[in-house]
Amino acid sequence: MTQRVGVEVSIAVADAVRMANPDVVAAYPITPQTHIVEHLAELVANGEMDAEYIPVESEHSAMSACLGAAAAGARTFTATASQGLALMNEVLYVASGMRLPIVMVVANRALSAPLSIWCDHSDLMSVRDTGWVQIIVENGQQAVDNTLCAFRIAEDRRVLLPVIVHLDGFNLTHVIEPIVFPEQADIDKFLPVSSYPLPLNPDKPVAMGSFAPPFIFTEAKWAQEVALKNSKGVVLECWSDFSKISGRGYSPVEKYKSDGAKVLLTTMGSIGETASVAIDRMRAAGKDVGLLKLRLWRPFPFDELRVAVKDADVLIVLDRDLSFGGPGGVLASEVKAALYSLERKPKVVGFVGGLGGRDITMDGFEDIVNKGMEIARKGSQHEYEIYGVRE
């Protein structure tokens, strides 16, 4: 087993990309993604990574160049955040609709206005319906592991869909964490050289991106939906194979002391770490609480979630995003929808917090759990509570 090293998570992610041996990286700088693409540029400049680095003039072109590269059969990577992700939005739909196995790391950050460079999940939610496989990590090691897994999932012939690895901006991208890198030889076996089934090639011409009249459009979209739903099996298989070389396993809904707990908290991203410690403290104080951490956002892990909450009476969902004028946090409303058809289900209480980089401390999590239990008992006039807001 290799050594555990202290390294900035952005640098570690870029090194994971290097280990995946991509052919093309196209990227445009945006805080807090910059350290990732800077390090990739450096690796190419030093000859440590044999790839074409295209320093494009916008995120729209970054993703567009990725479309072209992936369609030509290249292993392709980009990274972005926030406004950059918003700018590439229309291209994301094309990437999944054309079944191009592009891998992207998103350093999650709030969307303007007002301008904020700090973390929340409003950018993440803005690409919810783009048809990409989406994995959400909570620490540097998970970011490294899942960046490597992302290439394998995307390129699997049963999937052929683009994959996003979401990691929280600053809270993860800019911190130094202990990372264990897998052995390159193991990764070479885990992730063989890519071969896209029908690339753009004059020896065997294909037409890609033809326009679809109504008689075929629905079928095309259904095929895409089936592929995304079925990708869960491949994700699970990939994580299982990865655990064999790394000893680290992942699951779509990660459980932390949740079995049998009557009150569950659900989080996404880096706040899961603090929440875990808060759960420890609450349990030490005799509270029957546990934690669920969503690792796989798309395809949504309906089955795993339903099983994970089967014993709970109260499910408190914390979102770092807000669907304006709607039901509050997007995760909470999706969780509610996923549980609606169950006979026995926990009462779901939604909280929105941690917007634009505002920290939620251990006390904060305890506060949220207490308030959530109170709302579950008494009921609330609101669809959701916004945590810690000054009115």
Partner: protein, 325 residues
């Protein structure tokens, strides 16, 4: 000249990778220009196509007019897509992945996809120096969506969003000079071409695609549907537009301007304008203003080409010789 359209098809090679049966309008100048361009491009080509007329009329699932690898993604990103393809071939070739050597990447787009919504992506790709050819087929408005004005619509032309009205004479601005914008990127090859001069067009396309680095060709592409003109005068317009100086044919090779043909005297712009419904409303005063502007721009261009023209006279390029026949 009137018979040109009849005998030219017999002179150019038959084989092309752009199949018949597509759904372009009758008399489509863009389809004609694309045919000519792809006669010159050969087999070892990947095509990136912007959203627009050509993309729509050549591709409806499950059909395609393209016997070449072809990709359409979006409206404004074609140059970026081409960048990605070019970079992929470069990297994969270097790393020993099986790709045909010397594959050329050709991006095609309309005037809207080039000089409006796609200008940023194009500028980026030209500046970065990707080895590709970008051809703009300019039908001077958003014809695919039904003739809305673009920045390439000529002054005075009535379109659905620059309509004729009590307070409007049509397009209120002068046509954006896209070839000059391309040339300002200091790329190795820029040219203008017209399907009225097919050999010149094919020569330029062949030259552009063979040029290492980025090449840009701006092709005049008459649209009878949008321009409200008879469908059988497309070739005539394609020559008149050059003879009047409205759309001069020239090349910019490594910064040197070269006129593609000598015009001792420009024909009056009225000869060109009067044939098209989009200009029918223009008063003599407005036409005079257009005439002056065309002459001014033409003189400026000749000035730039002074050095180059002398050189080209001595060399007498075969393309030019055939055109003046």
């Amino acid at each position: 000249m009137e018979n040109y359209a009849v005998y030219v098809p017999r002179l150019v090679k038959k084989k092309e990778k752009f199949a018949p049966g597509h759904r372009a309008c009758i008399g489509c100048g863009e389809a004609l220009a694309i045919r000519l361009a792809f006669k010159a491009l050969g087999n070892n080509v990947i095509v990136a196509n912007a959203t627009g007329c050509a993309e729509i009329f050549t591709s409806q699932l499950p059909y395609t007019s393209w016997q070449l690898p072809w990709i359409h993604t979006l409206f404004e990103n074609t140059a970026a897509v081409a960048s990605g393809i070019e970079a992929a071939y470069k990297a994969m070739g270097r790393k020993g992945k099986a790709v045909p050597p010397d594959t050329k990447v050709v991006a095609i787009a309309g005037d809207g996809g080039t000089s409006d919504i796609g200008l940023q992506a194009l500028s980026g790709a030209l500046e970065r120096g990707h080895n590709f050819l970008y051809i703009c087929f300019d039908n001077e408005a958003y014809q695919n969506t039904g003739n809305q004005r673009s920045s390439a619509t000529p002054f005075g032309a009535a379109t659905t969003t620059s309509p004729l009205g009590k307070k409007s004479i049509g397009q209120f601005s002068w046509k954006k000079n896209m070839p000059e914008i391309a040339a300002a990127h200091n790329i190795p090859y820029v040219a203008t071409a017209s399907p009225g001069y097919p050999f010149d067009l094919m020569d330029k396309v062949a030259k552009g695609v063979a040029t290492p680095g980025p090449a840009y060709i701006h092709v005049y592409s008459p649209c009878p549907t949008g321009w409200r003109c008879p469908t059988d005068i497309v070739v005539k317009l394609s020559r008149l537009v050059v003879e009047t100086g409205v759309f001069p044919l020239y090349e910019v090779e490594n910064g040197r301007y070269k006129m593609s043909m000598e015009l001792p005297q420009l024909r009056p712009v009225k000869d060109y304008l009067k044939l098209q419904g989009r200009f029918r409303h223009l008063s003599d005063d407005t036409i005079k203003m257009i005439q002056e502007r065309v002459e001014l721009d033409y003189r400026k261009l000749l000035e730039k080409a002074k050095d180059g023209s002398k050189r080209s006279k001595r060399k007498s390029s075969p393309g030019t010789a055939k055109v003046s026949a």
